[in-house]
């Protein structure tokens, strides 16, 4: 049941020999993309979230053969030449990482959400929360994650004000 498939992983074109019985999660981890975590294995926790053609999905419930001809993005690929992506940096800034197991999956969900909604007027917290409902985090209580996403959506101009507000609140 072996097949050859061609796809892009983090912009790099690759040809992979995969077993049709394998999930995308298994194949990515086998090839060293270990940011992709297996949590529940049944589409409930979102730890294995990757983007396929920029759409977030659970790689544990996705057959590897389905990515033939498609582009995959994982958290590794978001860091370019040692520089964190905007979303990754925002997670760091707002302390949205604790044990870290859910983080790569959440980063990919947030990345897709920010790319889709950047520049739009007023995205509500409820919308951000609903868009992240497929990712479980047992440490943070989600608040810091929502703040990270808000920081990205606010863009550079508003960020100073935003940080000031936060500092004032922290004090």
């Amino acid at each position: 049941m072996i097949q050859n498939i061609s796809c892009k992983i983090n912009s790099k074109p690759v040809t992979l020999r995969v077993d049709v019985r394998q999930s995308l999660l298994e194949v990515l981890r086998e090839h060293g993309y270990t940011s992709v975590k297996e949590g529940c294995g049944s589409g409930e926790c979102g730890a294995c979230t990757v983007l396929v053609d920029d759409v977030p999905l659970d790689s544990c419930l996705y057959l590897a053969v389905w990515v033939d001809g498609r582009s995959i993005r994982t958290a590794e690929g978001e860091t370019r030449q040692g520089k964190l992506s905007e979303v990754q940096q925002a997670y760091l800034d707002s302390g949205a990482v604790q044990c870290g197991f859910c983080t790569p999956g959440l980063i990919m969900t947030s990345t897709a959400f920010v790319e889709k909604h950047k520049g739009k007027d007023k995205i509500s917290r409820a919308e951000i929360r609903r868009a992240h409902a497929g990712n479980l985090c047992r440490c943070t209580g989600y608040e810091s994650i929502i703040r990270a996403v808000e920081q990205c959506l606010a863009g550079a101009e508003d960020r100073d004000t935003y940080d000031e507000c936060r500092l004032m609140k922290d004090e």
Partner: protein, 292 residues
């Protein structure tokens, strides 16, 4: 690795039917969010797969010249939430789709799978039932079509013959034009949850009279169900407080809720009654009728 005994990929509906006909044990896999979960649990009934994930002809949403809306069975819930035809003409279906699982699941799971697996809790089922949707089935004997409520036969059982697959859902113009409709899912959590009770209502109005009412529930019986007796009682009634009460009292006669770990029977009955009134009221409000 999933424990599969055979796997064949189809690129057209014809090919899928031929592959299913060759192997009576085989089942189709589209979005994978049910089948792969079952396989992950080691379920033996899903070991022969015909893969219809990339069958392009199942993925379109279109409107025919007569106004019929045709939804391919391979359309995902995210597609339903975002497609203009759906959000403009039958927003109740977009609403139902938006309560399925979480975002990742909605990006993968298909409406055809949601209906074909016969789940009593299918979020798309109640909106589709009040839209009087028909299912289009294709098999070795050709194409046939039937109302969705006839397609359901029992828990997990639908009227799919050997080697047949659902190719589309079809909604006739008379079933959505001039209708108002809404859906409410009652669940313990706002996402990643299965409904305790789901309720959809649709009505047509003549002044302050309900000329036609359709009411459908999920998780209130062995399959998603229409409330035929209650609908009959409401026909032609003035939209007032008394009607809400009649509907709320009558609706349990149409349904067979059961006890499960998710909810006791008595609680389901309470929710059924409450939702009948609230969802009907919300639907009437859409039509400009408010009941105080």
């Amino acid at each position: 690795m999933f424990d599969l005994d055979s796997y064949h990929k189809a690129s057209t509906v014809e090919e899928a039917i031929a592959l299913l006909a060759q192997n009576p044990q085989a089942i189709p896999i589209a979005g994978g969010t049910d089948v792969l979960v079952r396989l992950h649990q080691g379920h033996p009934d899903y070991r022969h797969l015909v893969d219809i994930h990339d069958v392009a002809e199942l993925k379109s949403i279109s409107m025919e010249p007569d106004g019929s809306i045709v939804i391919g069975s391979g359309v995902t819930f995210t597609d339903l939430m975002e497609a203009r035809i759906i959000t403009t003409h039958i927003p109740v279906l977009a609403e139902g789709a938006s309560w399925v699982g979480g975002p990742q699941v909605r990006n993968m799971a298909t409406v055809g799978g949601n209906i074909s697996n016969g789940a009593p809790s299918a979020d798309s089922a109640a909106p589709l039932l009040v839209l009087n949707a028909a299912v289009v089935l294709k098999g070795p004997q050709g194409t046939r079509q039937m109302p969705l409520h006839e397609f359901y036969q029992g828990p997990g059982r639908v009227d799919l013959q050997q080697a047949e697959i659902m190719t589309a859902l079809r909604i006739a113009p008379d079933d959505y034009q001039c209708w108002f409709a809404s859906y409410y899912k009652y669940a313990m959590r706002d996402a990643m949850d299965i409904a305790t009770i789901g309720c959809a209502a649709a009505c047509k109005l003549e002044g302050n009279r309900v000329s036609e009412l359709r009411l459908a529930y999920t998780v209130a019986g062995p399959t998603p169900l229409r409330c035929w007796k209650t609908e009959e009682k409401a026909r032609g009634a003035v939209a007032d407080q008394a009607l809400l009460q009649i509907v709320g009292t009558s609706v349990l006669n149409d349904l067979r809720p059961r006890e499960s770990w998710r909810s006791p029977k008595a609680f389901r009955e309470q929710i059924i009654k409450t939702l009948a009134e609230r969802v009907l009221q919300k639907t009437l409000n859409q039509g400009g009728v408010s009941i105080s």
